[in-house]
Point group: C2
Chain length 553, copies 2
């Protein structure tokens, strides 16, 4: 059901009465203007990707009213953000900042603490402040999506000169995705590594009654320092940016990003591998090629089932049984697709002029063919609507939405991700694939793994697609995710990013030396946010006011 | 004079009596073993590069006894480091950690606060803990030099497979150089960007009486997380590494570093440019080539005078006048060298197999020749002892010492650096070169600038060589440096790194929004080091106990 009235009523944050909360909201309204604060007291409406809610996760893993905002505030300026921080400190109301809120698979736009006031930064603060065609950089506000940045570059006639790097879906924000350390698929795919410069509003109120806003790197220079803000990430003194990624230490109001120069040509390629057991030897082949940049982008090595599901048809088109879809069925259906019957599909791209690409492509072709049954699929044989061309667009910096299609696998399609990191080793791939397979089997879920190969590591991204309205299925999904996290931790693997619901568990696996890392993060949290108003619980970091009071999940 | 007795006696740190200090030192001695603590109560001895002092700067910019240690302690383990931290907190004695202490041009091994106890981490903690030939990574302790790492790779027969990246001098430590965000000259030249994983001992004592040691990134995983520690820098949650670079927030006891795969060929090239005024158009040509990686390494564009001085002869061989050496004299002497008469020399390297290099080199050759008078010097014509081959070694990962030679320009040769960052723009190069020239002129100093071109920015590195025993000259050097820093700041430029003596001034230029950055750094400092025992004043960050008490310079 698309919209339903709130069953539990206005999600007033803990520790404040409804009346006091409503008074506080009125205070905020009169400070920011009545249009810029909305109370979430009516309904839950999941919408869809292009019109996603900003009050909760459109793909809820729990009950929709669990991770839900009490109100949403729309700042129009850095001054507004400071004002909101002051207000929250005064009333001890938790805030949750989002840029766009399309963090699907990881919690969408939902806050971790029920009743938080969501700061929707992107709605009004969405300017592209600069695109610098000399330096190949830009400076953006939180609301700039990959689509918007791409469009603006085209509009200015710079499309032939520079590329952006986009994740699989282009509707997210450059700022939000980068702060969550998301990845894309050109050689500029490590978004965190490619950013340069942050402007941050801190969550505390100083002795002078003011809220501090500071700029990292060269942006801290007093006079005109902005000329190097996006050219050189470090500045002088501690390089502070990192602590604002995957954290709850500050609200980012501006971010610089580097842009990729047009490499002078590009060419996608696709290989299929026949057997499940090809995984390990293939990964061993990939590692040296990737580290030496013969394989130049974050490639996706996908399981056949994902190649099938991304066609966008419901699972029932192929199979009606319960439990994971059997391999023979998957293979049978793949036979009539462009890839043909196979276990794995490798999507990659080579960059540069033709003769430079030729050098790399011939090495790749030789190496990949060491796996018996390896097939190169000639792109010329593929129709324009084949998924391959979506990967081609993405790996050449053009935002796309095709990837959303596999969500149709289930009615009321939702998904959550298990994303462990490992070396690029065959043995690691097998262990992670093996545990995922076992746990999916136990819970009767379809397994759609993709190995995203970074430079010296790979992320295994396992997206579990489920029916967002099926509480029983969601319990199984959660159980499967939690079991996989524990299994992986026991083998020495950790997640690079996770869903809101799983943050405490994942953070708990990074527990070396008696949780020394979390103790350190807590020290920073208490110093920077003594009242604990900013995104309590995000990435497992709880402020003092919440710590060890049963908030952990 | 190479060794002189201490004029000012044992440099007891402020706030503690000599007797109490000596008792404290005895306590430390009996805890660590008598050999592992030495009192600095006898002499100042500058030694030379290979046998540099760890108590003070071998190239002092002030009086040698200004930035000087009271004692040096040699921990042999992380436990020892924790013990030292506890001891310092108990007695409120300032500590100053060094890895090797060859931070020449930036303060050498000297502490910022007179009488600090230097922790010489490198002396005993100097193991290469791992070299991973699959992942192209290593894990090192503070005492591992670029030379040592290079040698070990050769010894294990991996020299043909992987390269290290080294700064101009190979005697520094991988850890210390990287923490100070130093640079080298292969495509892995941004050392900070290439590291992966830190182990850090924090400077405070917890409520439980213990000192915390934590690992960043994947190193925080409880069980066997080390398999990805050097493969993936980020881990889960805040990416904390950055705040330990150019700071005084922690003591790094282990660091991971990535290694470069042998690119399959390399080729140095050198171009000369005839006129001073070629600088701006050349920089404009370099920018797009560098950003698109046609120019692949941190190239050095050097002034002719540095090419002359690196031959290692004293200035008096060429000129005896006072004031900056006149241009015609420089040009005259260059005539009989390999570069011939010129204003600028570009040293670069191209990587990969011959046909790949050819592609890039021909683009570079065409572009550079757009500058009238540009000359390519054929390496085949250069003798084996020509400086060009030192750059060739460095840009292909072989540590070297040739660069030290320009220090011979002056008797008792010492130097200090002015290192502003700017976009790669002709106008910026001219402004920075112009102000350096004016200020050198005013102080009668020779100007030896080199532009080190990063990816989207360049560091101008101006090394002022002076006579370390000539107090008058040192005053002029300091004045010149301070004036250049102020001039640059007024034009919107800031330094990427600086000398101990100039840290307050440089930090003061990063003063946007009422010093918001320094206020933030101070908040972190007070939270992490409440007693203010760790490297007070480093990078301009003063702990509460020292702040606004006249320590700033
Ligand atoms: C089919 C599919 C494919 C996907 N493929 C990819 C992929 O290839 N790569 C990838 O990285 N992701 C992928 N995702 C996940 C997700 O959709 C993207 O990462 C998306 O860009 C994140 O949403 P956002 O940009 O709107 O960020 P937001 O939701 O706005 O932000 C993410 C989080 O960061 C924090 N945050 C955001 N803005 C701020 C701020 N200004 N200050 C402080 N904290 C802030 C908040 O905690 C927020 O929850 C995929 C999802 C789906 C459904
Ligand atoms: C001729 C010449 C050429 C040079 N060329 C270059 C160059 O190309 N590139 C370059 O980067 N530099 C260059 N330098 C500067 C310097 O020599 C090198 O950067 C050198 O590597 C730094 O010294 P180190 O490695 O011994 O570091 P250290 O002196 O050990 O450390 C540097 C600083 O980092 C901090 N630190 C060190 N270890 C730790 C730790 N374990 N925990 C916490 N803090 C720590 C300390 O504050 C210390 O003062 C040059 C110097 C000269 C004389």
């Amino acid at each position: 059901p698309d919209a339903a009235p709130l069953r539990r009523g206005l999600p007033v944050p803990q520790g404040i009465s409804k009346t006091a909360f409503l008074v506080a909201i009125e205070e905020l309204r009169s400070a920011l203007g009545p249009d810029h604060v909305t109370l979430n007291d009516k309904e839950v409406k999941n919408g869809w990707y292009m019109e996603h809610p900003n009050t909760h996760d459109m793909m809820p893993l729990f009950d929709s009213e669990e991770f839900i905002a009490s109100a949403v505030v729309y700042p129009g300026s850095v001054e507004d953000v400071k004002l909101i921080v002051k207000w929250a400190n005064k009333h001890l109301i938790p805030l949750f900042p989002i840029s766009i809120g399309r963090n699907l698979g990881y919690g969408g736009s939902a806050p971790r603490v029920r009743g938080s006031v969501t700061i929707d930064l992107g709605r009004r603060m969405n300017r592209i402040l600069e695109i610098n065609a000399d330096d190949f950089t830009c400076l953006v506000e939180p609301g700039v999506t990959f689509y918007a940045l791409h469009e603006e570059i085209q509009k200015r006639g710079l499309g032939d000169k520079m590329w952006i790097d986009t994740p699989d879906l282009g509707g997210g924000s450059v700022v939000g995705n980068t702060l969550d350390r998301g990845v894309g698929y050109t050689p500029y795919g490590d978004h965190w590594a490619c950013h340069s410069g942050l402007e941050v509003v801190l969550p505390s109120v100083g002795d002078d009654g003011d809220v501090s806003v500071f700029r990292t790197g060269m942006g801290a220079l007093g006079v005109g320092g902005e000329n190097t803000w996006q050219c050189f990430p470090y500045g002088f003194g501690p390089y502070n940016d990192g602590i604002f990624s995957q954290s709850n230490f500050g609200i980012v109001t501006k971010m610089g990003m580097t842009l990729m120069p047009n490499p002078g040509g590009f060419e996608s390629f696709m290989y299929t591998f026949a057997n499940e057991s090809d995984l390990a030897p293939l990964i061993e082949i990939i590692r040296p090629l990737r580290i030496s940049n013969i394989l130049e982008n974050v490639a996706q090595l996908r399981h056949g089932l994902q190649t099938l599901s991304v066609k966008g048809h419901p699972r029932t088109n192929y199979y009606n049984g319960s439990g994971p879809m059997p391999d023979p069925i998957i293979r049978q259906h793949l036979r009539s697709t462009a890839t043909g019957e196979c276990a794995w599909v490798y999507y990659g791209m080579s960059y540069g002029p033709a003769h430079i690409r030729g050098h790399k492509l011939s090495i790749i072709d030789n190496e990949f063919h060491r796996i018996p049954g390896c097939k190169r699929i000639d792109p010329a044989t593929l129709p324009a609507d084949e998924y391959f061309w979506s990967r081609d667009r993405i790996a050449s910096g053009t935002p796309d939405l095709e990837e959303l299609k596999w969500v149709n696998w289930m009615p009321n399609g939702a998904h959550a991700a298990f994303s462990p990191v490992s070396p690029i080793k065959g043995a690691d791939a097998e262990k992670l694939y093996g545990l995922a397979k076992r746990r999916h089997g136990e819970q009767g879920l379809d397994l759609m793994p993709a190995f995203c190969v970074g430079l010296r590591e790979m992320h295994l991204i396992v997206e579990i697609v489920y029916d967002g309205t099926d509480m029983g299925m969601k319990k199984r999904v959660e159980k499967c995710l939690r079991d996989m996290i524990d299994d992986a931790a026991a083998l020495g693997y950790g997640e690079y990013r996770t869903h809101l619901a799983l943050m405490d568990q994942v953070a708990g696996t990074y527990n070396w030396n008696d949780n020394a890392l979390m103790k350190f993060n807590n020290t920073l949290k208490d110093a920077l946010d003594p009242n604990g108003i900013l995104a309590p619980g995000r990435c497992g970091i709880w402020p003092k006011r919440y710590r060890n009071r049963g908030w952990e999940l």
